[in-house]
Symmetry: C2
Subunit: 236 residues, 2 copies
């Protein structure tokens, strides 16, 4: 039975971290909300499931319905070859994933500093202030952490954990891709100080299954409805 992924059909958003993991795993899955009547099915499930997710994305695996990106990846990592087998390795990979999730939330907050209910247009000025701080201070701080843990990986600096790809590597690729879309000039500068992160990003993009995915129409282009939005006035 294929996995069923439920997520907003017109953005990469948080669902993209799950899509990348499913693609790298070569897993059989349906991106339900992109099929006819899929959106209705998604809303129904959120209403009536015994374990209703607070928000998309969520994954249906047989009888299990799993929400929260990091939990979905923890689960996929148990069943596919995209996470370490050891307890210590699993916890470390998950810890990195949750730190990536924090960065994603901060990236989202650059265009919604006053909260998710106001339109971007109604909080533009505040967004400009938050984006400046994010670009100047937070992006370098996070990239420096990723660079440090890559450098300290005893199995080599080509992966965040161990000697092969994990879902954390895929997620770091996606964050670098998204931030480079949103803040192209700032990221170009920031990546010069994080060469291992840049190398990892490029290596993930070339993995055969990821490359095929990125070139397919399953990959939704970035746009200004998603998490990573390109507002040229915020870049610097």
């Amino acid at each position: 039975m294929p996995y069923e992924l439920y997520y907003w059909p017109s953005i990469q958003g948080r669902g993209e971290f799950v899509r990348l993991a499913l693609e790298e795993a070569g897993a059989n899955y349906v991106d339900v909300a992109r099929t006819p009547k899929g959106m209705a099915a998604m809303m129904r499930m959120m209403d009536s499931a015994e374990h209703p997710p607070f928000a998309p994305p969520f994954l249906k695996d047989g009888d299990l319905i799993i929400g929260q990106v990091a939990v979905i990846l923890l689960h996929l990592g148990q069943h596919h070859n995209i996470a370490p087998k050891s307890e210590a390795g699993r916890l470390w990979t998950h810890q990195i994933q949750l730190t990536i999730a924090d960065l994603v939330t901060e990236a989202h907050d650059t265009h919604h500093p006053l909260g998710p209910n106001l339109y971007y247009e109604d909080q533009k000025q505040e967004a400009a202030r938050r984006a400046t701080d994010f670009r100047k201070d937070r992006i370098p701080k996070f990239l420096d952490w990723f660079e440090t843990i890559l450098a300290r990986n005893p199995s080599g600096d080509r992966h965040l954990v161990g000697a092969s790809v994990t879902y954390a590597d895929l997620s770091l690729f996606q964050v670098v891709e998204g931030l480079s879309y949103a803040f192209p000039r700032a990221m170009k500068r920031a990546l010069k100080d994080a060469p291992r992160v840049a190398t990892l990003h490029d290596a993930v993009a070339k993995r055969p299954r990821i490359k095929a995915y990125l070139e397919s129409d399953r990959r939704i282009p970035f746009n200004e409805e998603g998490i990573f939005r390109h507002y040229p006035e915020f870049d610097g």
Copy 2:
């Protein structure tokens, strides 16, 4: 060997979710940064560990150093009687915990909408706008979700998962406690529409180990340096 918890010594903050789990488990632990030279030890560990946490809190369990509250709780749940044993139950508990973490981040953002680097005093006006939205829309939305999953728990509505206490129950207690400190009037109203959440909160406070902890000086009082801050002008 006792667990070593590393967290800022003068606030409940995110560390409190870990402290409550350790207390309920009856685990032997040292709150390192509250001991002499503890802060220096914490900073050293963040600098030099092979797996450096991005930020406190983190837990040292023998050779393991684990950051991110939800990962620490996942680990403690494996080794103490505060999480279900089944895979499905473990994932669901973890999913609830990550949703609580999202609520905690939003609570923090009410006083720091423009980012963590500006002082609250420099973003007071923006904070007032964000707090209004949080109080009117986000608190009820999250409480409604907790109420729903309590009502749908096939083992009864006294716990979020299964028929006994989990770290998710302890964390929900802490969030209700914190929000009631920060927004006493708004929470009093909101809890009327979430009676199961209110009952769970009160039941956790009466658990013998939690009660003893809350009455001890190990429990740091809420204050305006932590996540949950009482600014009377934000309540309504």
